[in-house]
Assembly symmetry: C2
Homo-oligomer: 308 residues x 2
């Protein structure tokens, strides 16, 4: 990894404006992912091309940036959370590939370009997803967590959050909810497991990478859950109100797929209010952090205002 | 785990006949898997039912038994490799679910019953596979390897063997080979990556669980590669010659799917001779182990003679 790359230092500088912070963080993660993923000319080429296609050249890198920002907020160097950040982004890319498959949400566009199965065929897309999940765990196994955490703590974090009682459980109920009447308990379950769990996991992994104590890791996990719920509510609002080009994925696809969303359950106004409520709860938790967290506060408020 | 269960002691007794050894090992793994997998009444139920359906009630448990037998051969208690054995079996079940999907090999029967996607639908089958892969990594992260290995060595083993340059790479080329002329180099690549790598991984994990030195781990990994190649060649022979009921999966499906197999490339006689050659090479490696390995030798010869 080139620690002198032009985006590394600005990302580590707490004084730069948030937009620059985000854009440098995104470049750093993008570049490190490009180096860490298997090269496209390695056998089997089509698989490695599909993995790189799905991982690179798009995405906000929110999960990776959160892990690195939290690590730095807690006084450790941001690059200590770089490897976890790459694993989070590879994991996130795997979930998007599988979610877009015809037997799941059947979406053809992702991050402004054809979905992986449109570009490489269903079998290669499915296997590229499998390979990214496997690679994420491999990267984390090579990254020993600092004390007081057990060495394999980062693998445990990702596999717990990403398993049958986390992200995958959320996706199962998300599909099941398409044929059921709207239900608030189910909506909260889906948003918590499918979206907020991985964002909370990113926050926990950032704290673990900084060597934070268990109570700080838990505090930041709770922060991440509220942030993730607010994030998903804004996502639902954008899907209902923005256009496809701005989103990079088909607008209105939730309604087309009869997805159970905040907008469908609560309408626009209450959805907005709920997103604001969870943002406030996330900010309240940051107050308890007992260290300057201005950058995290800015990031939290920014996500409520985003239009992409 | 109930270490007084009726199958535990016979499995640890080097004097019992091989068939008893295998059947007790199978019962031990089956029972421990049943305990370790999420209960079917935990949310989301359909996902946990699908995971249990795909993992339990069938299979030879060859990979798990190999890991435990090697651990015991090297002088450690077999149960030290139990957790890795469960992870190997969960991982293997995930590959079978995904391989059977319509966009892959499109097979409807597995282990003598309807494939997971026939029983639970494509989306739930795909997600059950994802969840089993995730769970396998989670179990291994909780199982610290003994010295001289790094604590997360078992996760590294499984994710390296199971990744894009291992099992998944083999599956990609296996699908690609269906539309290409038969080619020996490609056949060896597919058999090595798709089948032998995971069997070699099981052997390495058994050795690591016993705290063996790196050179013994490598020796047993090479043993596992030859054993795995012989195993796959016998599989190809059985697919071409046995009937569906004996196999527990559709006989002749290789020919139907235009699979690149040893039988298609070499015919029955040379395939048999190659399986015998790899079995001999596996046995030669066991000679170098410098400890009594009668049980492993019996197991190695048995796999050449199997008719299921």
């Amino acid at each position: 990894m080139n620690v002198n790359a032009p985006y590394v230092k600005p990302f580590q500088n707490d004084a730069v404006p948030l937009q620059e912070w985000l854009s440098h963080g995104k470049s750093w993660i993008e570049s490190a992912l490009g180096e860490a993923l298997p090269a496209a000319d390695q056998r089997p080429r089509i698989l490695h091309e599909a993995m790189r296609y799905a991982c690179l050249g798009g995405g906000k890198r929110l999960r990776g940036i959160l892990a690195m920002t939290i690590c730095q907020t807690l006084g450790a160097e941001a690059r200590r959370a770089l490897r976890p950040a790459l694993a989070l982004e590879a994991f996130h890319a795997y979930t998007l590939i599988h979610d877009d498959l015809p037997c799941m949400d059947d979406d053809d566009i992702r991050r402004g370009k054809p979905a992986t199965h449109i570009q490489f065929g269903e079998a290669n897309a499915l296997l590229a997803g499998d390979a990214l999940l496997t690679l994420a765990c491999q990267w984390l196994a090579e990254t020993h967590a600092p004390l007081p955490h057990p060495p394999a703590a980062l693998v445990t974090e990702l596999t717990t959050a990403g398993g049958s009682q986390g992200v995958i459980g959320g996706q199962v109920e998300d599909l099941a909810a398409e044929t059921l009447p709207p239900d608030e308990e189910m909506l909260v379950y889906i948003h918590t497991e499918k979206t907020a769990r991985l964002i909370a996991c990113a926050c926990r992994m950032g704290a673990i990478s900084a060597g934070a104590c268990a109570s700080k890791v838990d505090l930041l996990g709770r922060y991440g859950l509220h942030l993730g719920l607010a994030f998903q509510m804004i996502d639902d609002l954008l899907d209902a109100t923005a256009d496809t080009r701005a989103l990079g994925k088909p607008a209105g696809s939730d309604a087309k797929n009869q997805k159970l969303t905040t907008v469908r359950l609560w309408g626009l106004e209450k959805s907005r209010a709920e997103a604001e409520r969870h943002t406030r709860m996330a900010l309240d938790l940051l107050e308890q952090l007992e260290c300057p967290a201005g950058r995290l506060q800015d990031l939290t408020r920014h996500l409520l205002m985003r239009d992409f």
